[in-house]
């Protein structure tokens, strides 16, 4: 498990960070996912299933966090809400093109959760359709159609044909 964690923790924390916009929450979700894997050692018959399992756990953990987050923020002003779940652009990359990046991230955030998940899994984790399907618990054809719709919506938001 240590080796699995060492190999994939950074990528999974970054993935959770992209979904949640908060470092601590991202770390918590990943730690909890590995704790869940630890509790299920015995039931794992195939070592190849460990990573897909923990990836799905991270995704589910992010969904839970986002549901809680939405409830917690329900009474807040819209302007504050707009700030809440967007990773803050760091100084180094700010020099390059903070506005462009912010635009893409804002457009991503406006997508429905499932569409956003598909795009992050595909374009950040570089997962195949089959892997995305396994992580999300949906069929590969649904992954394809969801990604197509997500890119279309993103393109319209960014005023660029997909």
């Amino acid at each position: 498990m240590t080796a699995l964690y060492q190999a994939h923790a950074l990528g999974l924390i970054r993935f959770a960070y992209l979904m949640l916009g908060e470092r601590q929450a991202a770390e918590d979700v990943v730690q909890e996912a590995f704790a869940g894997l630890y509790r299920r050692w015995e039931k794992l018959s195939d070592p190849g299933k460990a990573l897909p399992y923990v990836r799905s756990s991270v995704l589910n953990g992010c969904r839970t966090q986002l549901r809680r987050h939405r409830r917690a923020l329900a009474g807040l002003a819209a302007a504050a809400l707009a700030d809440a779940a967007l990773p803050v652009v760091s100084a180094e990359s700010a020099v390059l093109s903070a506005e462009q990046r912010r635009g893409v991230l804002l457009a991503l955030r406006q997508l429905p959760p499932r569409q956003r998940e598909v795009l992050v899994l595909r374009f950040y984790l570089d997962l195949s359709e089959a892997e995305i399907a396994a992580a999300m618990g949906i069929g590969p054809s649904t992954v394809r159609s969801t990604a197509h719709r997500a890119l279309g919506a993103l393109g319209r938001t960014l005023e660029e044909p997909s």
Partner: protein
């Protein structure tokens, strides 16, 4: 960017790199009892042994556990292994060490000793004495994530002053020794390595402040490369001055605001009048103007030297000392007594200790309120604690925040303490202590220094 897919991929990867490899915490696993491979419950259902593919991983995990245990015993990294309680987990979120400036009992008030303490245990790891001759420490700033600390020190001279009696006239023949500034304010650094080694104090190439200068704030960028110093200009229109020094080169930039109110906080020299965002260019500073504390954000990478060019971010009512505190019969009023604001390193929030009070019934509700740095509106309230029957001292402060304000190190009245003296005891006080707060979970720091010995709050 050629295609939409490329733009998405690029934006996600750029953003994901906000999390660097060194940010990844060590793996924390749950306690084994009843669960996991070594749990009794597992054995009761028939232990089938480790799957063959897990054997090398299990061995690695065992080695990691031994290393983690060793680090706990030696005061090593703060996240070494499974935490037995949620209090342990909470403490592990704080920086590993903090610095306390304390007097030695023979120094007439100003601290002459810097103690490096382990956050998780309170153990004094090292002590450093102020440089000779006769220096006292004034303030300390920390960049804990890189183990760099800056201490301001100044030579002090002992002066005998006459004791003033209750009548306002000197008491005949009685004097008291006090320390008065006797030389320039200089800056020194102290390093703590990842293995916990504490360096000697060494002078920094930062221009000294004159002996009669007042130091209002001190803050290191999270990367430890730049030091912000708040002081006050002289001349016909004295006003706040902020210096930013690049420690590696000694290069300095200065911003001034002639005739304006000084940069200050009301906590008594915590240094929290200044705080940096993790972008190492956005500096928050605060001033008290006409009964309102105002926090502004200065872009230190932008050209110019006018503090007035900074952006207003937050304005909070402040009613000042106890004599001027507003009372409102039967309804709560928002009231902030002591005021020290910290900008979260991600630049998104400003964290302030606040109190809401009501007179009938007599209650005080303490909290740590987070305001959006963009809109000034409240976005979160942590640790909302209510005290009844008796008015506690209004001593509460935020001393450190993690990147997004979800975990704080605070000075707080101990939650859950009920003080209901009959008859009322005017000398009774609510305990005040340092602790870690995350959401509404709070735990006091173990082995913390006694507050009565500190004239300056610790720095993390």
């Amino acid at each position: 960017m050629s295609t939409l897919e490329d733009r998405v991929r690029w934006a996600l990867r750029e953003t994901a790199e906000d999390i660097s490899p060194v940010d990844v915490p060590l793996l924390r696993l749950p306690d084994g009892a009843g669960r996991g491979p070594a749990g009794r419950g597992r054995l009761a259902h028939g232990w089938r042994g480790w799957p063959p593919w897990l054997t090398p991983l299990a061995a690695a995990a065992a080695v990691a556990a031994v290393v983690a245990a060793t680090l706990i015993l030696t005061g090593g990294p703060a996240r070494p292994g499974p935490h037995r309680t949620w209090q342990d987990a909470l403490l592990a979120r704080a920086p590993r060490y903090y610095i306390v400036l304390t007097d030695t009992g023979r120094t007439h008030g100003w601290p002459r000793q810097a103690q490096v303490r382990a956050t998780r245990t309170g153990r004094i790891v090292a002590t450093r004495t102020a440089p000779r001759p006769g220096n006292a420490f004034l303030m300390v700033a920390a960049a804990a994530s890189v183990g760099r600390y800056v201490l301001a020190a100044q030579p002090m001279a002992l002066k005998q002053q006459k004791v003033i009696g209750l009548s306002g006239r000197p008491v005949s023949g009685k004097t008291v020794a006090v320390q008065v500034p006797a030389g320039p304010i200089r800056f020194y650094q102290l390093r703590i390595s990842s293995s916990g080694q504490v360096s000697a104090l060494s002078p920094l190439p930062v221009p000294a402040l004159p002996a009669d200068a007042n130091l209002y704030g001190l803050a290191l960028t999270p990367d430890g490369r730049k030091l912000a110093v708040a002081t006050r200009t002289g001349g016909p229109r004295p006003g706040p001055e902020i210096q930013v020094d690049t420690l590696a080169t000694g290069a300095q930039r200065v911003w001034t605001w002639p005739g304006a109110q000084p940069v200050e906080e009301s906590l008594g020299g915590t240094g929290s009048a200044l705080s940096w965002a993790a972008d190492d260019r956005t500096l928050a500073f605060q001033r008290l103007i006409d009964g309102r504390y105002k926090v502004r954000l200065l872009d230190t990478a932008a050209p110019g030297h006018r503090l007035a060019a900074s952006r207003p971010a937050l304005s909070v009512d402040w009613t000042g000392m106890e004599t001027s505190r507003r009372f409102s019969h039967g309804r709560a009023v928002n009231d902030t007594d002591t005021f020290g604001a910290l900008l979260t390193p991600d630049g998104s929030k400003i964290v302030v200790a606040t109190v809401t009070q009501s007179f009938h019934p007599l209650t005080s509700e303490f909290a740590f309120t987070e305001f959006s740095a963009r809109t000034g509106k409240v976005v979160a309230v942590l640790g909302r604690w209510r005290f009844t029957r008796r008015w506690p001292e209004q001593e509460q402060a935020v001393l450190w925040t993690n990147v997004d304000g979800s975990t704080l190190l605070v000075l707080a009245h101990r939650p859950g303490v009920t003080l209901n003296p009959r008859p009322p005891d005017p000398g009774a006080v609510f305990p005040v202590e340092f602790g870690v707060l995350r959401g509404n979970r709070y735990t006091p720091l173990p082995g913390q220094p006694r507050l009565g010995r500190l004239s300056i709050f610790p720095a993390w």
